[in-house]
Symmetry: C2
Subunit: 252 residues, 2 copies
Amino acid sequence: MYYFLRLRYVGDNFRGFQYQPGLRTVQSVLTEAFGELFGNEVLVKGCSRTDSGVHANDYCITVLTPEYAPDIPPEKLPFAVKRYLPEDISVYSAEYAPDNFHVRHDVKYKEYLYLVDNSPVPDPFYTRRSWQYLYPLPEESDIIMHNAGQYLVGTHDFSSFMAEGSEVASRVRTIFYINVKKSILKSKLFEIRVAGDGFLYNMVRIIAGTLVDVAAGRKKTEDIPEILKKCDRKYAGMTAPPEGLYLNRVVY
Amino acid sequence: MYYFLRLRYVGDNFRGFQYQPGLRTVQSVLTEAFGELFGNEVLVKGCSRTDSGVHANDYCITVLTPEYAPDIPPEKLPFAVKRYLPEDISVYSAEYAPDNFHVRHDVKYKEYLYLVDNSPVPDPFYTRRSWQYLYPLPEESDIIMHNAGQYLVGTHDFSSFMAEGSEVASRVRTIFYINVKKSILKSKLFEIRVAGDGFLYNMVRIIAGTLVDVAAGRKKTEDIPEILKKCDRKYAGMTAPPEGLYLNRVVY
C-alpha cells in the first residue's frame, strides 16, 4: 500500500527531517514506528528537508509498505501508529496516495510561519518555539516588516537569501505572498508567513532575520530590492534561529 | 527591600510551587535565583500552592531582601534576575510591595484556566500543556460545559469538589464565574475559566473533570446541584490531570 499522511511535530529534539546515521531525526523515528506496524521494509519519504529545531504544524509524507504488510484502512492509520510514536510527533490524517504521486515533487506550494517573540523577558511558554528577540522593536514592526517583505514577493534570484556554500542548480524561486501581523495568541508576538513554490537553504530564516533588521532600523525597507539584486548572501540580514520556524501548510 | 513580582512558568518540570527538600520546586528555584542576586537570606513567598505539572500564566510572589542587599530598582529586577533563572520560568513585572502586604492573604480573586484538547490524536504542541482527552466530545461541548458550570457559581460548600483527606477549616468558597468556550488557538480545544476567592485542594481539576463527564454524557447538567448538596467527593467526576491547569490571573 502507498499512503499519504499529514503530521505535526515539535522540532526541539529532532536533528531535522532527513535520516542521519545515529541521530534522532523525524524520518528515522517515523521509519521505525511504521516499521513496527508494517514490517521493516517500509519506505518513508518527506515533503521537505527541515533543519534541527524547526517545527511542523503540517508536514506531509508518503509511506510505502512491503507486499506482505497488513492492509490498514487509511482512516485507522493515525490511531494504529500512535502507540509507536513519541509524544513530540503525531499523524493527524491519512489517505491512499495516488499512483505516481511524489510527496516532494508534487508540492504546489508551502507556507512557512516564523514567530518572533519580542517580550522584554523570555516567555517560558515560547522558549524553543519562537525567536526570543528581547531588544524592543517599534510598536508598528508588523507593518514595517510586512511592507519590506512585499519587495520579495514574485519570481527572483534569491541568492542573497541562501546560506553560503549550498549547491543548487537554480536560485530562482517564486514567493506567492509574505504576510506579517501581530499574533492574536499574545502581545509582542509577530507572525511572519512566507509562501512559495520552493525555498533555498535557510531562505525563510534569512528573510525573517532581514525583516527584523528592517524593523530594528539596521536596514531600510528600500534596501530590500538592492539586496536581492546583489545576489550575494553577505548583503542580507542575519539568519534567524531555527526555533522560530514552522512548516505551516503544504499544498498539492 | 520588599518586592512584589509577577511571573510565568511552565509546570512540567516543577514539583509544584512549595519548597520540598531535595525536589525542584518553583519556590526553591526562585529562592536560589534571588539568593544569587540579593544574598542567601532572601525570603520568597507565593500567592498559591500549585501542584506538580500545573502551569502559571500569572503567578505572584513577594521577595523580602536582607538589609545588606543591594537596592535594585523594581523596573530592573526582571532583567537582573533573568540570568539566574532557568528557561521554564520568568519574572515579567516587579514593583515595591506596600508595607503589611501579604501575597497570599490579600488576593481578591484568582482565575484558573483549564485546557481540554479533544483532538482525536494527541497534538504534540499541547502535550503536557493540556488534558489530551482523545475520546470525541460533542461539537457543542463548550455550551454543555458552560451551562453545567453555572450551577457552581456562587457561595457553596464545595466538599464534593475537594480531594479526599484534605484538612481545611471551612469548605465554603465563592466562585465568581465559570466560562467555557472553544479556543481561538486551534480547533477542538476547550478553555474552562474558573474564578473564585479561594479554592480547595484539586477543586478546579475536579470541576474540569466533572464538566467533561457532563459533556461526554456520563453525568447530566442537572446532576451538578445534587453533587454539590451531597458534600461528598465520591459524587463528583474524576480529577482532571494537572497538565491542563494554568493559574491564569491573580487580582489584589
